[in-house]
Homo-oligomer: 473 residues x 2
């Protein structure tokens, strides 16, 4: 296996290579699509399960809607179809015949779900309607990157309908908060939450909320979004209800989603020159046990001790792997599991067994110490929490060092272009000023609620609120 | 809401109607596809989680492969493409252009997965390779029926590669056993396990194992299959490995799957004139609490007692729903939750609160009794197990009454055609004799290992093994 590219000098090459070498994913023969391998899929399963619990705990129910959507559905909402048309994959033939109306492979499911909502909603008693779908979606991608941009990806898409604007507003913000907690508490990734500009929002939405991470190379990554949809969607699908006063009204809608891109974010925020570094809460393997013996007579003793420790940790709920591969040296195993980002490593040899201890080290390099056998469980449980927290702190420090305050684009633009990093600045919220960011390959990532910079980064008009400006994935 | 059709006289109409009325699924505007509503999806989630645990416990890992597969891949295995060609949905345009090579929406994933296996396998050390995928697949369907036959459906597809034929054989049989346990222990559905005939097997397989249920109308339902694939698949994708002796060999492959059809089986095996009857282990709601009060002064007392019982049961791990809908009478609620097949019902009124009891009834009608508040948890936990077992027993009795022994097709064929039911008979295993079943709209469902009937159901040749013959879904 070849050496990983230098993470500082060649971040993009490092990213691709670590994903293949750590067996998170593999290239596929289908343009723009990847194969998610078991190790990568297990990370996604953990993220999915955590998020699914949050979605259910906040009163949503899972359901499933068709993959293939009549082309005419997308055309009902003008901005929506304009936004998605260039990315559609279209089924024109099926069952051996040409279809009368082509079907698109869903790029997102607003249209089909709103069609069904219109059938299910007739009175205020049917509201709120809060549905979530775990699904694959397809958006044709010319420049794919594993997990970050692929033609097919996995996500959850929440879709809700409410009696009032305020309830929809609260819903969209509540889900944003759940996503931020997912990132902070489980992925150990600090994010900036705010609002997308008019140019950057979801096609057809009134308002798009976003949470953005800053990767190690200083580029921003949109990690997910929560939309307050315009009533146009409800109108396009003639979705109405009788309100509490007996009047006919359109419900207020939201949609919100997060994708397999989160796996890419974990790689880009935490990785290092040795490979992945996985936060314990989503690591498929939290601790790997490596038995070490030279003489074959010590093999049985060591393996027995290793198995005992494995059993203790499994019972305590730790995700453990005992590496019994007899075709690899301990050194090769260390290298392998470091590449895969396993948070903790336990080594045990004949001398350790004799002394009733095991050597425990961690992927962050916080400590390496001998721990008495009967103290191992408590030590590991405690250490996993320490690592989780340390990873968040480290990521937060890094993000701070990548964030700057900027006043005039003419000054910080060239810096941004050359060194990446995110700039917090003022903006008058005119489209013309926003356009100028393109010359530095940057864009507005999110509008904040606060105002700390008085003037727009370009013109002399007063700023409305601060905005985060950066290059992005 | 209209009355359900008579389950005995109009089974097929009853099936469609109960699915819509109990809100398991809804028709969709996309031909052949359904929308799975939250209540139906929750049943599928329980089945999926149980099966996923079994799949992981038997050493398989989840992964994910592309939805869209190059058309040429399917053509590599001759029998395979012949079997699936008429059912394919084909993407011809994407990203605003006509594609150079059309992509098919996967009808199953053998081809793409074997392509990847060929990249991952080089030595016997890479074997066995045991992968599972939870996915949606598309097979164009002209006569759809919710859950039983839909253009898009959900399933898991397991794909494994082994060093020897024996290992692949054992794998295919092990998974058949896991499926049978899923049906017996969780779905409370007795099934007949055996082998498909040459005509009925999976396109390209050496041998297809199957498990079949007998529905209340006497028709058989193939509930899932486990295939021992021919080495043709390995050859088509030049999948080779260096064996323990240093020789180049083709791995032996299996694939196996079960689908959302299992939800349809649960409906058809257990339902009655009042609606669904759900086995407790997969019921989204295991017990519904219905508070009963007339005077508003007793409302608070009753609701408080109901909430206390709800909390106790939730803590004991019971899936409870407290029905607080103030727009429905208790009678309407009884009707509603019976239709939805909730296994247990708890009623509590002012007099019950005063006496420190609650009335507990069950969907099967086994008992209705007053239970003291402090005995409720134990009573419910115990009763849920009793119901689960009683449902399996009842289904087994029904299946027995629908199964007959047949000797000559000329005698039992007309019976089969008129009254449905399954016939166990002898068969010489000649295709010509099997063809004759068509005149009674029947087919061979599965070959058994035993032989209890001496002669073929048609000719005078000796039978090879017994075979189950029935009409089927």
């Amino acid at each position: 296996m070849k050496k990983l590219p230098d993470i500082k000098k060649s971040f993009s090459e490092w990213y691709q290579e670590v994903i293949y070498q750590a067996e998170l994913a593999d290239q596929s023969p289908v343009r723009g699509s990847i194969v998610i391998r078991p190790y990568g899929y297990a990370i996604w399963e953990h993220i999915r399960d955590i998020l699914d619990k949050k979605i259910k705990a906040t009163g949503h129910q899972n359901a499933s809607f068709p993959l293939l959507i009549p082309e005419s559905f997308l055309k009902r909402e003008a901005e929506h179809v304009e936004g998605f048309a260039p990315e559609l994959a279209v089924v024109t033939h099926a069952g051996g015949k040409e279809l009368e109306e082509p079907l698109v492979v869903r790029p997102t499911s607003e249209t089909i779900i709103h069609y069904m909502f219109a059938r299910w909603i007739s009175s205020w008693r049917d509201l709120p309607l809060k549905i979530n779908q775990w699904a694959n979606v397809v958006r044709w991608e010319m420049r794919p990157r594993p997990f970050l941009r692929t033609t097919e990806f996995f996500w959850q898409e929440g879709h809700t309908a409410h009696e009032t604007y305020q309830e929809a507003y609260d819903e969209a913000h509540m889900m944003l908060k759940e996503y931020v907690d997912l990132c902070h508490t489980y992925l150990a990734i600090p994010v900036i939450a705010g609002t997308k500009s008019e140019q950057e929002k979801f096609p057809g939405a009134d308002k798009t909320l976003t949470f953005e991470g800053i990767m190690q190379d200083g580029k921003a990554l949109q990690m997910g979004t929560s939309h307050l949809l315009s009533q146009n969607f409800a109108r396009s699908f003639t979705m109405t209800f009788q309100d509490r006063n007996g009047n006919v009204a359109h419900p207020h809608l939201t949609s919100w989603g997060a994708t397999t891109r989160l796996v890419g974010a974990v790689v880009m925020v935490h990785g290092d020159d040795k490979g992945l570094v996985l936060p314990p809460r989503i690591a498929p393997i939290q601790l790997v046990i490596i038995p070490i013996f030279k003489a074959s007579e010590s093999k049985d003793t060591v393996l027995q001790a290793a198995r005992t420790i494995e059993t203790m940790l499994v019972h305590a709920g730790v995700r453990v792997h005992l590496d019994l591969d007899d075709n690899k040296t301990p050194g090769a195993k260390f290298y392998h599991w470091e590449l895969k980002g396993v948070p903790m490593r336990l080594e045990i040899g004949p001398r350790d067994v004799a002394q009733g201890v095991a050597m425990i080290a961690d992927r962050l390099g916080l400590s390496k110490e001998a721990v008495a056998t009967d103290a191992i469980v408590a030590h590991v449980l405690n250490k996993l929490e320490t690592i989780q927290q340390a990873m968040f702190n480290r990521a937060q420090e890094r993000m701070k060092s990548l964030m700057h305050t900027g006043h005039k684009l003419s000054e910080f633009g060239p810096q941004l272009h050359e060194h990446n990093g995110a700039y917090r600045t003022g903006w008058c919220q005119d489209k013309e000023c926003e356009q100028l960011l393109k010359q530095y390959q940057a864009s507005t990532r999110c509008l904040l609620d606060e105002k700390t910079v008085e003037q727009c980064f370009n013109c002399n008009k007063p700023s409305v609120t601060d905005v985060i400006v950066a290059k992005s994935y």
